[in-house]
């Protein structure tokens, strides 16, 4: 799959502070790319470089295999974390203004805005001032403005903050829909459950450096430890547990069941397969539960960060 965006060895310093240290990322076309990292890691600096708000001291950025140029702002839609609108300007006028700045003609912008305002059922907001709207309502307008010019690349920084669960879902569906239509999405957030749900690629930035990047499935494969979660109905569970502990690495586990099972996590050595474990267990009792433990993005995040401390 071709890459829509490539950042090559970008470095950015502010005085003596290095905000971004030799960071490269590849964002495949049509992917939802999660840009993760603790606060102050350098995510925003990277996003600003992609948006040509800041220039990198070293390194380059390619969009569609072309070095970034001024006209590329029309191909990018950016919803920053620090976002707002002119308080005393009317919603419609404001949306038109921002759309025109992205190169849409007034007529075109009006038509598309009408479509989106109908879709979100907010047509009656057109003549309201932003200060009359709630935060969530203003966020909806911002979302529309971000995607209105149909950019190839969408960058969302914490897109769900400020939304109630229902509206967050509406926005999530819209993002997925936009991806269907061919957009590529970069998605920066601290909410790991939405990363888990949406992203197919991630990159992890920590202390100005990229420490992890790849397909989510590949990363999970690399991070899984051949561990299985097991629920066993055995008559003499204490004895079975002791026997298992002799043969494998076993730790107690906790999950909800309706009967009294022996619950544990078993980690196998690389030379053992899950079938061999199953065979062994089937002699000890009735297997009620057997599944592979796959690390969540959250665990991977925490583990990688702590390993790099």
């Amino acid at each position: 799959m071709a890459n829509l965006l490539e950042v090559q060895q970008a470095t950015k310093r502010f005085g003596t502070f290095t905000a971004l240290n030799n960071v490269s990322i590849q964002v495949p076309k049509g992917s939802i790319f999660g840009l993760l990292g603790p606060n102050g890691a350098g995510k925003t600096t990277l996003i600003r470089i992609i948006n040509q708000i800041t220039l990198p001291d070293e390194g380059s950025v390619l969009l569609d295999n072309e070095p970034l140029q001024l006209h590329h702002v029309k191909d990018i839609g950016y919803l920053p974390e620090e976002r707002g609108l002119y308080k005393s300007m009317k919603v419609g006028e404001q949306a038109l203004y921002l759309a025109q700045l992205k190169g849409l003609s007034k007529r075109e912008a009006k038509e598309r805005l009408k479509y989106w305002f109908d879709k979100f059922d907010i047509t009656h907001w057109w003549d309201k001032k932003i200060q009359e709207l709630s935060k969530g309502m203003a966020q909806k307008v911002q979302f529309i403005v971000t995607v209105l010019h149909r950019p190839k690349l969408l960058i969302f920084d914490e897109p769900f903050s400020g939304f109630d669960p229902i509206n967050a879902n509406v926005i999530k569906d819209e993002i997925l829909q936009l991806r269907e239509e061919g957009a590529t999405v970069i998605f920066s957030t601290h909410r790991m459950e939405s990363v888990e749900e949406l992203c197919d690629h991630i990159a992890l930035i920590h202390k100005s450096k990229k420490i992890l990047e790849g397909k989510v499935t590949d990363i999970k494969k690399a991070y899984k430890t051949n561990t299985f979660e097991v629920g066993l109905l055995a008559d003499n569970s204490i004895q079975v547990y002791a026997e298992l502990q002799d043969k494998f690495k076993v730790i107690p586990a906790d999950f909800k069941t309706i009967d009294d099972q022996l619950k544990m996590k078993i980690t196998l050595d690389d030379n053992l397969s899950s079938n061999e474990l199953l065979q062994y267990l089937s002699n000890k009792g009735q297997i009620m539960r057997f599944n592979e433990v796959i690390p969540g993005v959250n665990e991977i995040f925490i583990k990688t960060i702590t390993d790099n401390e």
């Binding site: 600003r48 990018i76 950016y78 308080k87």
Partner: protein, 436 residues
């Protein structure tokens, strides 16, 4: 439409639609005219009051000289004793007692004459009385020395120096005053414009920052473009407002003049002019002379240089204002950075009003009309007096150069500042931002 045009349009509309702007546009001329009228009216009120002054003249010389005027009524109490006179002044609540003792006669330096009153008399009353006594005593001295007063009066020369430059152009003191007024008004006008609309630019930058819309905007346009758009949009709004002020103010002034008709009464006018003429030695001339002098001024040159310095000065300062707006989070924080703006502006005005008027081509005036931050104001004040073209050229080149430099510098601060939230920056930090 290009982005710059879009930004200018938005800024212009945002300024013009602002309620305060609308109110100020229409209210300011009203307030100004109301104030001028009020002052004029109060002045007439004050003049109407006639002071009652008692004189106690031991010399018996002045009886005929103290003639009642519009401002002062004189009462002669010389027939009483001094103490009785004092008592009755207090009792009758008169305005004062002038005591002229015998010893005051024939002294050249005279300080024995006294004025008793509860409240200190106004300077103009004292001047009037002093003048009467001085004239009388001087004449008295002349007579004593056997001089013919009429002959002295007739032999007094009246000199008015006519000014002419080497190319044969005649000027007069009148024209100097007109030039002064021209230059002074232009300089003052520019300063007002810079302060009012520069502040507006700053507020608009702060607004974008505190609304957090700035990052959305600059993902579409270059920060420098945004800054330029702001400065231009605001200046158009400013020009509109100023034009309305001038027109509305003129109309209102005319209407107010009709109602109050104190100064427009031709008799009064003539009298006032004469009075002024007497006091200031023929400065005030009639309207035709003023018109004549005005025609002689190089009006086209004045207009062109006014436009260049006006636009240049405004751009120079408003880009500094924009940079300050970008550096701070709120208007209160901006105070600490105001000095670099207010100081040169004030310096320009003071140098203009003191140095240029005294000596338009002196070293101080010349130097300050070259330094870019003060040159717009000082040069505007100097130009009516005639400045060598090469001086204007150097000053303009310096101005244009520094506009480019300062805008670039301000643009760098702006670029970094608009994305910085939270802490109040110091000058040191601003300096660092320029290098990012």
């Amino acid at each position: 439409m290009s982005n710059l045009k879009l930004i200018i349009k938005r800024e212009f509309i945002a300024r013009v639609r602002n309620k305060t702007f609308v109110v100020m546009t229409f209210l300011s001329p009203l307030i100004m005219v109301a104030m001028v009228s009020l002052i004029a009216w109060l002045a007439t009120l004050n003049n109407d009051e006639v002071r009652k002054v008692v004189f106690f003249d031991e010399t018996g010389l002045f009886k005929k000289d103290f003639k009642d005027s519009d401002a002062i009524d004189y009462l002669d109490y010389s027939h009483l004793s001094l103490n009785d006179a004092k008592d009755s002044v207090v009792l009758k609540k008169l305005d004062g007692l002038l005591y002229i003792p015998k010893s005051s006669m024939s002294n050249q330096q005279n300080s024995s004459i006294q004025f008793y009153s509860d409240e200190a008399p106004s300077i103009s009353i004292l001047n009037t009385i002093e003048e009467i006594i001085t004239t009388k005593l001087t004449n008295q001295n002349f007579i004593e020395k056997g001089l013919d007063i009429e002959a002295i009066e007739n032999s007094k020369a009246k000199v008015e120096i006519r000014l002419e430059n080497f190319s044969g152009e005649k000027t007069s003191k009148m024209s100097s005053y007109i030039k002064m007024i021209f230059g002074g008004a232009a300089g003052y006008f520019l300063m007002m414009f810079i302060i009012i609309y520069g502040n507006m630019v700053m507020r608009s930058v702060i607004e974008e920052k505190s609304n957090r819309i700035i990052e959305i905007i600059i993902s579409s346009v270059k920060p420098l473009q945004l800054m330029m758009g702001k400065i231009l949009g605001t200046s158009f709004a400013g020009i509109l407002q100023f034009t309305i002020w001038v027109i509305l103010g003129g109309v209102l002034m005319f209407i107010a003049g009709l109602f109050i008709d104190l100064d427009l009464d031709p008799d009064n006018m003539q009298e006032a002019l004469k009075l002024l003429e007497k006091k200031q030695g023929g400065i005030v001339a009639n309207a035709t002379e003023i018109l004549f002098e005005l025609k002689k001024l190089p009006l086209l040159t004045l207009l062109i240089s006014f436009l260049i310095y006006f636009i240049g000065g405004y751009f120079l300062y408003s880009s500094i204002y924009a940079a300050i707006g970008a550096a701070v989070d709120s208007e209160t924080d901006s105070q600490q950075f105001m000095l670099p703006i207010i100081l040169p502006l004030m310096l320009g005005i003071y140098v203009g009003f003191f140095s240029v008027i005294e000596n338009p081509h002196g070293t101080v005036a010349t130097v300050f009309s070259m330094i870019p931050l003060t040159s717009p104001i000082v040069m505007l004040m100097r130009i009516p007096f005639g400045v060598h073209w090469w001086e204007v050229l150097i000053s303009m080149l310096l101005l244009i150069g520094s506009i480019i430099f300062i805008t670039w510098l301000a643009g760098r601060i702006y670029r970094v500042g608009i994305l910085m939230y939270g802490k109040k920056p110091t000058y040191k930090e601003l300096f660092k931002w320029m290098k990012y």
